[in-house]
């Protein structure tokens, strides 16, 4: 039989149901779009990081840094004059905001124009329009800075315009003395995150005196590196640039790993729903295929016809998905880059980076899932006897025959997955495979569970339910081969929703608990001056003397450099009223303070993870100090949600001895009654001289700020939840429309018997509602399991966070309601159509 003719028949069949064909394409497109959007977000973070770091480090091979991020400029002079290293340059680097650029964050780089000549390729556009390495503009103006040409054009800034740089509370007026520009687009992208100033101007802006942030070097032999190390004073370290960049980059890898987990979930759900849509589309053609076989179409011809048709829709759906994915991806890049900047490192360049592999990944995900979805029904259509194909009941009998096998296989797969997740989680990827297996196993269990569930419900409510309700339930089991796929799809979508909901709500609970106990305090007092961070002891005494004050936590906190974790925050307390949640302690909690006094330290979970600290007696870690690397014994690992390199608590004596700080930088004020927060803030502000730059904020404001940052982290997961809901709704709508087509005659009978349009519509909605309810109930254990994997495995491994899984009946009740409501909403349109069934033609269908 002519294959073209067969394909034509199939397309004409699709053309007679344009809405369903459209839904099929939308289903495929949404699945593909989810994969592409998340992948674009991930690759864009990577690219933005590369551009941001390239702006700072360029081609340097090594850097000399201080253990507290500052080194005397004399170290540079010494290296140049004594060792004769000419390919070296002093650098001051920090993040500032520029008011005229709508407060965009840029990297202010203070450089020595002469030293830079042999080091970085900083090209400047001259007045004549040519570009060259002329940095003289930095020297001719006392407060001259160089800005990216593209950035200046974007904000309408010209040469000699004044721009305001903000650093902490400081605001400094500078003049644009030239523009950074290059013929190379990639270099221009790097320049976009940069603002250049002469090193002396940068020192003045930041109040750094004679200190610099680091020295950049291009070294060609290891011997020179050794000589440098020998000459460096205590507390100054030589590090490899590439290795250091890699460490900083690793910080956000965890976040990206979790994004991968979510993109895999989106992909899996997409595959499932595409399978659902496609298999529905094929199975409803059983009769047509049977007729074609009876008329002489060979098995092979029929197989390829079925496959060819689906593949054409797959192509259209995947292509549309790519376009949609790019649009969604552009939105996601902003959210993801903003989260990375908030939590890990500042991305001064934020670009949407769309790569061919990303698009191919999404495209093939769509094609593969459509192929996977259509191959089995295509084989079935090709292998089954024509007469069997023409009988709808045959597919149901086949499913019922294999039901015990499906159930057993499902149970074995779930068992194997649980075993894997319990014993092999350290191996990368095992957790995702485990989750996939649990989903797959549950999908195989679905037909049996549906059957038992419906039978149970019917037995329970045999007497109280009317015929229409029974009809709705029995219809579900009657078309088990279709409804089980629909219910399993909805179950997967609902369980993803539950899993993410439990994860985010558990995480939020833990963060709130952490903010309340660990950070605590009704009022927070700290210096807003980034350089002079010390608070006066007089202020502390004045606050303590206030009658409303019940107590104060007094401490200092400073940034230190760590070779293994990048930037680490180190604390030392004078008094500590906060309570910590310990994930491990070397001794009884009551003895921890004594251990701290003896020189042991406390580290955060993230620091422990980054430094691969094993929670066991005798654990220790080497930290760079001003006197060189020192090994510290660890007394406890505490739960902490600050990202970056993690946090360390030492006693005051060690802080002074190893890092030179004995100041007070922060206070947490605890009041007798929280009602007095506002008046006490006023009174504290009255103690502070106007020039002192002290920030006094309520604990509630701090808490809100922290929660805002964490909520933003989960913005992408919330977007995924919405995507899940849309894909699920599309899938259900398509499936219900297909079921409706099969039931036309039955609905015609009902209408002929006197059922009103509303009664017929209600029957269909009832069926949808029951399907949604069963999906929701089946999704409960699966969603709980997914939440456990996300919390206990993905988050712990990726972020180093541990937090308790908090479940509430509200989440589960909400999920069941949501899945029932989603199914009912998806059923509204088919229900309206069902009510309008043409009785005459429906009754004469056979």
């Amino acid at each position: 039989m002519n294959q073209h003719l067969l394909i034509k028949i199939c397309f004409r069949q699709s053309r007679s149901h344009p809405l369903r064909t459209l839904l099929l394409i939308i289903g495929i497109a949404m699945g593909v779009a989810g994969v592409i959007a998340i992948d674009i977000a991930k690759t864009s973070v990577s690219k933005s990081f590369d551009l941001s770091t390239a702006a700072i480090t360029s081609e340097t091979t090594h850097q000399v840094v201080g253990s507290n991020f500052n080194i005397p400029q004399s170290v540079f002079t010494d290296l140049r004059t004594r060792l004769g290293i000419h390919r070296s340059a002093p650098v001051i680097s920090t993040h500032i905001t520029v008011m005229e650029l709508k407060n965009a964050t840029l990297t202010l780089m203070g450089i020595d124009p002469f030293s830079e000549m042999g080091l970085r390729n900083l090209t400047v556009r001259s007045r004549s329009g040519t570009t060259g390495k002329d940095l003289s503009g930095l020297l001719t103006h006392a407060s001259g800075v160089l800005l990216s040409q593209a950035m200046a054009s974007q904000y309408g800034l010209n040469q000699n315009d004044t721009i305001t740089l903000s650093f902490g509370d400081r605001q400094v007026q500078t003049v644009i003395s030239g523009f950074l520009d290059s013929r190379d687009g990639a270099t221009n992208a790097i320049f976009q995150g940069l603002i250049l100033a002469d090193i002396s101007l940068a020192q003045e802006i930041l109040g750094m005196g004679d200190d610099i942030t680091r020295i950049d070097l291009i070294l060609t032999d290891a011997a020179m590196a050794e000589q440098i190390v020998k000459r460096l004073p205590d507390g100054v370290i030589l590090v490899e640039t590439r290795r250091q960049n890699r460490i900083v980059r690793e910080l956000s890898r965890s976040f990206e790993t979790s994004l991968t987990a979510f993109s895999m979930l989106a992909l899996f759900m997409g595959i499932f729903l595409i399978y659902n849509t496609v298999s529905f589309s094929i199975t409803q053609r059983r009769k047509l295929n049977g007729t074609l076989r009876a008329l002489g179409a060979t098995r092979k011809t029929l197989f390829w016809t079925v496959l060819a048709e689906v593949m054409i829709y797959a192509l259209v759906g995947s292509a549309s998905g790519i376009l949609l994915g790019i649009l969604l991806g552009k939105g996601a890049v902003h959210a993801v880059c903003s989260t990375v900047s908030d939590m890990y490192f500042v991305l001064t360049v934020s670009q949407t980076h769309i790569t061919v592999p990303t698009l191919l990944k999404g495209f093939f995900a769509g094609i593969f899932s459509c192929f996977a979805a259509s191959v089995f029904p295509a084989i079935t259509a090709a292998r089954t006897l024509p007469i069997t194909l023409m009988q709808r009941s045959a597919s149901e009998s086949a499913l019922k025959k294999y039901l015990p096998l499906f159930t057993l296989t499902g149970m074995v797969i779930i068992g194997a997955a649980v075993f894997m997740l319990n014993f092999f989680t350290r191996q990368p990827g095992v957790d995702f495979i485990g989750v996939f297996m649990i989903f797959f196993g549950s999908a195989l269990l679905a037909p049996m569970v549906i059957l038992l569930f419906v039978r149970g419900l019917l037995a329970l409510f045999k007497k109280s339910w009317g015929s229409m309700t029974k009809m709705a339930l029995r219809n579900i089991t009657r078309s088990l081969s279709r409804t089980s796929v629909l219910i399993a799809s909805l179950m997967v979508a609902t369980s993803v929703y539950i899993g993410i909901d439990i994860m985010t709500s558990s995480f939020r609970c833990s963060v709130i608990d952490w903010v309340d106990s660990h950070i605590g305090g009704d009022i927070h007092v700290s210096s807003s001056d980034t350089l002079k961070r010390g608070l006066s002891p007089r202020l502390v005494a004045d606050i303590q003397a206030l009658p409303e004050v019940a107590g104060i936590s007094v401490y200092n906190i400073h940034r230190i450099f760590s070779r293994t974790s990048g930037e680490v925050h180190i604390f030392s307390y004078i008094t500590d009223l906060s309570t910590k949640k310990w994930s491990w302690t070397a001794a009884d909690e009551t003895q921890l303070t004594a251990l701290l006094d003896q020189g042991w330290i406390f580290v955060s979970e993230i620091f422990a993870q980054r430094n691969r600290i094993e929670a066991k007696m005798g654990a220790s870690v080497i930290i760079d100090t001003q006197t060189g690397p020192v090994s510290f014994r660890i007394a406890g690992i505490f739960r902490d949600f600050f990202m970056g390199g993690g946090r360390v608590i030492v006693n005051r004596k060690l802080m002074k001895q190893y890092w030179g700080y004995d100041d007070i930088t922060s206070l947490q004020v605890f009041l007798h009654t929280p009602k007095t927060v506002a008046p006490v803030i006023e009174r504290i502000n009255a103690f502070v001289p106007e020039s002192a730059n002290v920030k006094v904020v309520s604990g509630a404001t701090i808490k809100k700020g922290i929660l805002d940052v964490f909520d933003k982290t989960f913005l992408i997961t919330s977007a995924l939840q919405i995507l899940t809901a849309i894909v699920a709704l599309t899938g259900i709508l398509n499936s219900v429309m297909a079921l409706l087509l099969e039931r036309t005659r039955e609905l015609g009978i009902l209408r002929a018997c006197g059922a009103e349009t509303g009664q017929v519509g209600r029957l269909l909605l009832l069926e949808c509602g029951f399907s949604g309810f069963i999906s929701g109930v089946m999704a409960l254990p699966l969603g709980g399991c997914l939440a456990w994997v996300l919390i206990d495995i993905v988050n712990r491994r990726s972020f180093g966070w541990t937090y308790d899984m908090v479940t509430s009946p509200k989440i589960f009740l909400g999920a069941v309601t949501l899945s029932s409501a989603a199914a009912i909403v998806a059923g509204i349109f088919p229900a309206v159509r069902a009510g309008r069934t043409d009785i005459g033609s429906a009754l004469h269908m056979e």
Partner: protein, 230 residues
């Protein structure tokens, strides 16, 4: 209830081809009589039953059943009218496969919101009359064709309608079973005082009928038994 069809016209639009089924057709079916409609396939026998039952509406003309103007009713009004006053028997039985025999029979009463007490005894009594009481909890697919049609007959009578419409009720049955079903429909209709209109190819039905009509040239023409059995 008398059924009056006055100047009925009905045209079907099948993919640009217009098919006129009735043109200015007028007919009257007297209450309590058994009328048989005969004619070739596609002349409009089923369409006539659909028009009487309100399943379909005429393009022109009036359909009056008793005092009710069916052709002027809204869809919902026609549905409710059908539920209360008309019973339908089909060639393919048209039972709901997921409902048991008893549930199929009582479905219309349930749709009408009647209380179980009111219709259950009646349903069981009819099932006993047709010999299917013992099968009341079985599903239709376990019954033979004749048994399924008997269930359909009971379903059409259980809500005590005034009119019974039967569309080829024996068309899907063997001769012997078909005859038994014809007898049963005719007996039950007469015993319960129903107006019975049957569209059929079966000439055997004519023996039971009070009047015979044929659809000729888009209108209903009465035939004498002699004209059919010359």
């Amino acid at each position: 209830m008398d059924i009056l069809l006055s100047h009925i016209s009905k045209t079907y639009d099948d993919n640009k081809n217009k098919r006129v089924v009735f043109r200015d057709m007028t007919a009257k079916f007297t209450s309590g009589l058994f009328c048989v409609i005969i004619g070739k396939s596609g002349v409009g026998k089923s369409s006539l039953l659909n028009l009487i039952s309100g399943i379909d509406i005429p393009d022109k003309g009036i359909i009056q059943i008793g005092d009710a103007g069916v052709s002027d009713m809204t869809d919902t009004q026609r549905t409710i009218f059908r539920r209360k006053h008309i019973g339908f028997i089909y060639q393919f039985f048209n039972l709901i496969p997921v409902l048991t025999v008893l549930e199929n029979v009582t479905l219309i009463c349930e749709l009408d919101g009647l209380s179980k007490k009111r219709y259950l005894d009646r349903a069981n009594s009819f099932l006993k009359q047709v010999g299917l009481f013992d099968r009341r909890n079985d599903y239709p697919d376990t019954l033979s064709g004749g048994e399924q049609q008997r269930v359909a007959i009971v379903r059409s009578l259980v809500n005590d309608p005034d009119i019974l419409l039967a569309d080829e009720p024996t068309g899907n049955l063997d001769v012997k079973t078909g005859r038994a079903i014809l007898e049963m429909i005719s007996d039950l209709a007469k015993k319960n005082g129903k107006t019975l209109i049957m569209a059929t190819h079966s000439l055997e039905a004519i023996d039971y009928a009070d009047a015979v009509l044929s659809v000729v040239n888009q209108t209903l023409v009465p035939l004498s038994k002699e004209q059919i059995h010359p």
